[in-house]
C-alpha cells in the first residue's frame, strides 16, 4: 500500500551511513602473496573499524575505476587493520593490487552470511577446511578462530589447501602457525616444478589422508565452483551430512545489498543469502544445473 509505505519510510530510524557510499580507508599494509595476489590492510580514516564475521565480504572501491566484492581475510583475533586478499583478475582488482601504502580505498560492508564460526554447530567436533587457490582468503579468519577454539571437546581442525603450482600458494606463514596450533595441515599443487617434495594432485586427493569423524564433521569449502562440487561430493561419500558442508559461492556482485540482481543463483541472492551456503538442499542441485 503506497500510503502505508510512505508513512513507514518516513517513520524509519535514520539510515546511518549511506548504503551506496564507500567509507574511505587508508592502505596501511600491502603484502604480495603471489605474482597476482596482494593482501591489503585497510584502516578507516574515521578510525571506526566495522565488525565482521569470517566469510563475509566488503565492496572495495578503487576510486575512479570501480567497485568489486572482496572477502575479508582478517582474523577477528588480530587487532587493527582490516585485511583483504585480492587477485588481479579485472580492472578493479588490478587497481586494488597496485595500491601503495597511504593510498585511499573505499569500503562498504561487511555483507552476506559468514561461515558461522563462533556459533554452536562449529564450537565442537571436527572441522575440515578445504581451499583452492585464493579460496583460502575468506577461510583465513575462520581457521584462525577454529584452531584456537576454547572448548572444542576433542574436535580437530584439518586444513587442506591446493594451488596450481607452488608459486601460487598463499598464506604459508599462516599454514605453519595453524599447524603449530594443532591443526592437521596438508598442501597440494596441480603441477610441481623440479625440487617440490610435497603432494601433487587435486585438492580432493588429500581427503583420503585425513581421519576426521564423519559424525561430528563440519566442512568449510572455498575455491573454484567445480572444485567445491567435487570436494563436497567426496565428503558426502565419506558420510558427512550435506547440511554440514558449507560452500562460499560466487557470482557477479555490484551492490552487496540485494538490489542489483547480478548475484542470483536460482532462489538465492548470494550477497544476501550467501556467499556461504550449505551444500545440502538446493545448492547440490543448482551446482549440477548448467549455466545457473
Amino acid at each position: 500500500m503506497l500510503a502505508e509505505t510512505a508513512a513507514a519510510v518516513r517513520g524509519r530510524p535514520p539510515l546511518g551511513p549511506e548504503p551506496l557510499e564507500p567509507v574511505p580507508h587508508r592502505v596501511v599494509g600491502c603484502r604480495k602473496e603471489t605474482d597476482d595476489v596482494t593482501t591489503l590492510s585497510l584502516e578507516s580514516l574515521s578510525g571506526a573499524t566495522p565488525t565482521f564475521a569470517p566469510g563475509q565480504f566488503n565492496m572495495l572501491t578503487a576510486y575512479g575505476v570501480g567497485e568489486a566484492a572482496i572477502s575479508v581475510s582478517s582474523s577477528r583475533r588480530e587487532a587493527g587493520a582490516l585485511r583483504h586478499t585480492v587477485r588481479d583478475v579485472g580492472p578493479v582488482s588490478a587497481a586494488l593490487c597496485r595500491a601503495r601504502l597511504g593510498d585511499v580505498v573505499g569500503v562498504r560492508g561487511p555483507f552476506g552470511k559468514s561461515w558461522g564460526v563462533g556459533e554452536a554447530d562449529l564450537a565442537t567436533g571436527d572441522v575440515v577446511v578445504v581451499a583452492g587457490g585464493i579460496g583460502l582468503a575468506p577461510l583465513r579468519g575462520a581457521i584462525d578462530e577454529l584452531v584456537h577454539r576454547p572448548d572444542a571437546d576433542g574436535g580437530r581442525v584439518f586444513v587442506l589447501t591446493g594451488a596450481r603450482d607452488p608459486s601460487q600458494l598463499i598464506f604459508g606463514d599462516d599454514l605453519e602457525a595453524w599447524g603449530r596450533a594443532g591443526a592437521v595441515v596438508a598442501v597440494t599443487v596441480d603441477t610441481a616444478p623440479r625440487g617440490w617434495t610435497g603432494h601433487v594432485g587435486l585438492v580432493t586427493s588429500l581427503l583420503g589422508g585425513i581421519d576426521c569423524d564423519p559424525g561430528t564433521t563440519t566442512a568449510l569449502i572455498c575455491g573454484p565452483e567445480i572444485m567445491m562440487r567435487f570436494t563436497a561430493k567426496a565428503l558426502v561419500d565419506r558420510g558427512i551430512d550435506p547440511r554440514r558442508i558449507k560452500l562460499s559461492m560466487e557470482r557477479n556482485m555490484q551492490c552487496g545489498l540485494g538490489w542489483c540482481g547480478h548475484c542470483q543463483l536460482g532462489p538465492y541472492l548470494l550477497c544476501r543469502d550467501g556467499p556461504v551456503l550449505p551444500y545440502g538442499g538446493d545448492v547440490a542441485r543448482l551446482m549440477t544445473e548448467r549455466e545457473r
Binding site: L2, A3, T5, A8, V9, R10, R12, E18, P19, L20, P24, F57, T61, Y63, G64, G66, E67, R87, V89, V104, G106, A131, G132, G133, G135, P138, G162, R164, V189, D190, L202, V203, T204, C222, P224, I226, M227, F230, S248, M249, E250, R251, N252, C255, L257, G258, W259, G261, H262, Q264, G266, P267, Y268, V276, M287, T288, E289, R290, E291, R292
Partner: protein, 398 residues
C-alpha cells in the same frame, strides 16, 4: 469523506483535481501520447491525457488508434511504466574526490524536488511498484534514493475498462480493479458523459477530492463501475496458472523447450526494459582530468552476457540459459527471494518482444507436462576426470 468512500466527478472536476495537485506543489504526470505510444509524461490538464486513443496490442505488436470519442482511459498499458520515476533508468549515485571525500549525494534532499502526483496509473502498475518496494524498501537496508522518491508521491489510479489482448492481470491478481496502493481510484463510466467514479484510498486523497466539485455515487453509478470492470476482466484472454507456475518452473530447469525458445529469442533485453518490476542494475565509475570520481547506477538486463560475468567469463552464455533465468526469476525464484511474484501480468514483455515471444504461451508449454520432460542437454559431468584443473582459477568468494 473516508478511505473506501466513493463519489463521482466529471471531466471538469478531474481538471480541477489535477490543478489542485499542481497548486499543492506536486509535479503532475500522467499517461501521454508520445512518439506513437502511451508513455508517462508531464500533464497540466486532462486534455494532455490520451484523449480518444486506443491501443491494439498482440505479440510483437503495439499500435495506437483513434477511437473518435473523447474518452481518456480506453487503452491498456504502453511500454513505459511508473517504476522509472522512482527507480530511474540511469542515475548518479555520488561524486567524490579521488581520495574518497563525497562531494555530492544522489538522494534528493528535503524540498529539493517536488513530489510526484501520478494521474492515471494502472492497477497492474501499482502492483509493480509494490513488488519493487519489496526489493528496494523492505530488505535489511532501504534504498534511500528510491525511498525518498516514493515517500510523498500521490497516486491516482485509473482502473482498466479496456484491456489489451496481451493483458493477463486477472491471472496475477493485479487487475483490472485496483485493490490498494492509491490515494484515489478512478473508473471511467460507459457512455459519452465523461463521468468517473472515484474511490478514496487515503486521507490525503479524500482531502483533494473534497476540494473539487463532486457528487455522491448513486447505486447505478457503482453498478456501472462494477459492470465495466467485470466486462474488462471477461475480455482478458491470456492466462497463467499462477497457483502452480512457481513450483512447476522450478522443476523444469532441464526442459527442452528453453532451447526451442532460444531459437527465436534475440536476447535483445526489450522484455526486461519494458517490465515494470525488473530491477537489475549495473554500477559504474567514471573519472575526469580533475580527478573527480562519479558513480552511476544504470538499468541492466539479465539478457546481457555481462550480467553474469565472473573473472574469466560469463556464467550464462547461452541464450537459452538467459531466457530461463529471466522467466524463472519472474515467476518462480522471485517468490523465494522476495515472497511475491515478480510478474504482474501487464503483458508488456509480450507486446514489445520484437519476435513476439509470448510469456503465457511459453509457460504453458513448459508446465504442460508438469516439467517432467527429458533434459535438453545432459547434466554436468559426474566424474572428476571430466573436469578441468580445480584449484587454478580465482575462486573464493567474491
Amino acid at each position: 469523506m473516508r478511505t473506501g468512500g466513493t463519489a463521482t466527478i466529471d471531466r471538469h472536476g478531474l481538471d480541477l483535481l489535477i490543478a489542485a495537485l499542481a497548486e499543492a506543489g506536486f509535479d503532475t504526470k500522467g499517461p501521454v501520447v508520445r512518439e506513437g505510444a502511451i508513455m508517462p509524461g508531464a500533464i497540466r490538464t486532462s486534455a494532455d491525457l490520451p484523449v480518444g486513443v486506443r491501443d491494439a496490442q498482440g505479440p510483437g505488436h503495439y499500435r495506437l488508434e483513434h477511437s473518435g470519442d473523447d474518452r481518456l482511459f480506453d487503452w491498456a498499458v504502453g511500454p513505459g511504466s511508473w517504476n522509472a520515476e522512482f527507480f530511474p533508468p540511469s542515475q548518479e549515485l555520488w561524486r567524490s574526490t579521488s581520495t574518497g571525500d563525497i562531494t555530492s549525494h544522489a538522494r534528493p534532499g528535503p524540498g529539493s524536488t517536488r513530489p510526484l502526483a501520478i494521474v492515471g496509473a494502472r492497477p497492474c502498475e501499482l502492483a509493480a511498484l509494490a513488488v519493487l518496494d519489496r526489493v528496494l524498501l523492505d530488505g535489511a537496508v532501504t534504498d534511500p534514493d528510491y525511498a525518498a522518491r516514493r515517500a510523498d508521491a500521490f497516486v491516482m489510479v485509473a482502473e482498466c475498462g479496456t484491456p489489451a489482448a496481451t493483458c493477463f492481470c486477472t491471472s496475477m491478481g493485479t487487475g483490472p480493479a485496483a485493490t490498494g496502493g492509491f490515494d484515489l481510484a478512478l473508473t471511467e463510466l460507459d457512455g459519452g458523459g465523461q463521468r468517473y467514479v472515484v474511490r478514496v484510498g487515503s486521507d490525503r486523497g479524500a482531502a483533494f477530492l473534497e476540494g473539487v466539485p463532486h457528487a455522491g455515487a448513486v447505486p447505478t453509478d457503482l453498478t456501472a463501475r462494477d459492470r465495466r470492470l467485470a466486462s474488462a476482466a471477461a475480455a482478458i484472454v491470456r492466462t497463467v496458472n499462477s497457483d502452480r507456475v512457481a513450483g512447476l518452473l522450478a522443476d523444469s530447469i532441464d526442459h527442452p523447450h528453453w532451447d526451442e525458445i532460444a531459437e527465436r529469442c534475440l536476447a535483445c533485453g526489450n522484455c526486461t526494459m519494458v517490465c515494470p518490476t525488473c530491477f537489475c542494475s549495473d554500477v559504474s565509475d567514471t573519472t575526469d582530468l580533475t580527478g573527480e570520481v562519479r558513480r552511476d547506477r544504470t538499468w541492466s538486463s539479465c539478457f546481457d552476457l555481462d550480467h553474469s560475468y565472473l573473472h574469466g567469463g560469463s556464467v550464462r552464455v547461452s541464450v537459452s540459459s538467459r531466457y530461463r533465468q529471466w522467466l524463472t526469476h519472474k515467476l518462480s525464484t522471485w517468490w523465494d527471494q522476495f515472497d511475491t511474484s515478480g510478474c504482474v501480468g501487464c503483458g508488456r514483455c509480450v507486446a514489445w518482444c520484437p519476435v513476439g515471444i509470448d510469456l503465457t504461451e511459453e509457460v504453458a508449454v513448459i508446465t504442460a507436462d508438469d516439467g517432467r520432460a527429458g533434459p535438453a542437454s545432459g547434466p554436468l559431468p559426474a566424474t572428476e576426470s571430466e573436469s578441468v584443473s580445480e584449484s587454478g582459477s580465482a575462486g573464493g568468494t567474491p
